[in-house]
Chain length 319, copies 2
């Protein structure tokens, strides 16, 4: 089984930097690079394949997106795969194929890898861990510390698609639908935002959703985040499923969205650039205010409520 | 549970590069660096704690050692932890403590991390994945391609300690002993070997043991590897356990040993340097010969036998 697995990885992910006989890969960085960045993530999504992606494409996009929202361009990644005994090889083949396609799309190469086989009953089919290395062309000033009172909050697309699509794919609720995960590279989005003036901060709202990023902002900045519910784009299907099951789309995972904080003079320019760049659902969803460090939602019916912080994962193995 | 876990990781592994609020960490490299190296590995050892180490120290040493045998010095690492629900927090605390101690010993900092909680019954307590980044001060010529006929093979210490110690720690065989895993940083060893002339190749013989590295050499060089059984250092306990259970120490995992290939004019100089440097068990265990690409063992009783290649892991979750 080990040999079969390793051949499959080598076939799908082969590139001139990946030498499976080496303990470590050498890698080069652009000469003019001012800053190197590194990020790591684990992936445990269940099911392994879902409408709009697989754990393979998700791992690549997740890695690329963490670099992208840091203002970086991806260069290389490493991959550790934990494979449970008894996994169908055809599933692994499809997962690696979608991973390879995502690598090509994002122009990122797997330069080092490892596979470990887990005993049946000691894994969840496939777990991946990736580390991504990227670079910023110039030292940027992005970060939570750049956020000021009055700044506006942009969201690049609809909220909660990934979490809802994966939940539906589990079929445990007896619901189904045509909804797809938003899993995708956000590099085109971050490039647009970085080319526009006034950008203070970017983050991809994955586990815990938009609401969790808002809480991170409120905590780190010691300010109030005010969201306008009617301005937050949400697919009708996501709304419907959330109502039936009692979930809130603002807490559902996204895997291809960006939350950006932009100064108020330039937020409309950034928004127009996103609309023109192929992101028609992008919207200004809220603003930063002086006040206690909490998150207020102005509801569609005109009221106000505090958005609580998540105590724990609402949905384990969603990403 | 998530919050508890993340606090525990932050407490043990805190350093000035680790910002848990960032998607990606910036990292710096020495100005005079010619080559950057990157390596990745997964760790699934069972039990999580064993005589001589834990999965935490093992993950650090494994990362450092892959860089070390590539002729590099470690700089940074990333860590993904998959934690199974129900794991005792006191176990995680001890594992992270031993990990932190190993990081300090090896002067390597965890700059980015992620934790994922696995459902009970979908994990093995703890799985780790690490990626290490290091640098070589000068471009070195180490590699399988540098190996020539007549070169001698050095082993830095006794064979099979880690695999045997972990097996004994499982207590499934009704055996026990005082044997410790050899899990350790091999940086002091690789530094000694690199300071000596004639070095062609280094590798740490982990999963699959010494024999598997010998097969990699034979295959890559298209030559015969000849080992002299009587010259291979093996602990008496490892010998005894192997005889009882029918294992071969040459196939057992090591986590603190180096196999080095050195030209015949300089091999004794390298050996003396290892002896003087605190590695009294280091020995010349074989040589590279022209011939078919296989591995011959000259046995203690004067015969010869072919060492087969491992078909599959002899002992799952040994590292």
């Amino acid at each position: 089984m080990r040999e079969l697995i390793e051949k499959l990885f080598a076939r799908h992910l082969a590139n001139d930097k990946l030498d499976i006989q080496s303990d470590a890969a050498t890698f080069k960085i652009p000469v003019a690079t001012d800053e190197l960045l590194i990020t790591t993530d684990g992936y445990t999504v269940d099911p392994l394949e879902f409408p709009g992606g697989t754990i393979g494409s998700l791992a690549v996009y997740g890695t690329v997106n963490d670099l992208a929202v840091s203002g970086a361009e991806p260069l290389y990644m490493t991959l550790t795969a934990f494979i449970e005994e008894g996994l169908e090889i055809s599933v692994l083949d499809r997962v690696l194929n979608s991973m390879a396609n995502a690598c090509r799309e994002c122009n990122i190469a797997v330069v080092a890898g490892d596979t470990k086989v887990l005993k049946r009953g000691q894994g969840g089919g496939i777990y991946f861990s990736t580390t991504g290395v990227g670079f910023r062309k110039t030292v940027s000033n992005l970060g939570l510390k750049q956020i000021k009172t009055g700044d506006l909050i942009l969201l690049s697309g609809t909220a909660g698609d990934h979490g809802t699509a994966v939940m539906l794919a589990r079929e445990q609720f007896g619901l189904s639908g045509t909804l797809h995960s938003d899993a995708a590279s956000v590099l085109p989005i971050t490039r647009i935002l970085m080319a526009s003036p006034g950008l203070a901060f970017m983050r991809d709202p994955t586990r815990g959703g938009i609401a969790t990023v808002m809480h991170e902002i409120a905590q780190a900045c010691n300010k109030t985040v005010r969201l306008l519910e009617s301005s937050i784009p949400v697919h009708d299907q996501v709304k419907a499923v959330s109502e039936i099951l009692g979930y809130d789309p603002l807490f559902m995972a996204n895997e291809g969205r960006v939350v950006a904080v932009v100064d108020p003079e330039h937020a409309n320019q950034s928004l127009s650039a996103l609309h023109a760049g192929g992101y028609p659902d992008a919207a200004i969803i809220g603003r930063i205010e002086d006040g206690r460090k909490h998150v207020i939602l102005e509801t569609t019916i005109g009221g106000e409520r505090l958005l609580e912080q998540l105590e724990d994962d609402p949905l384990p193995r969603i990403c």
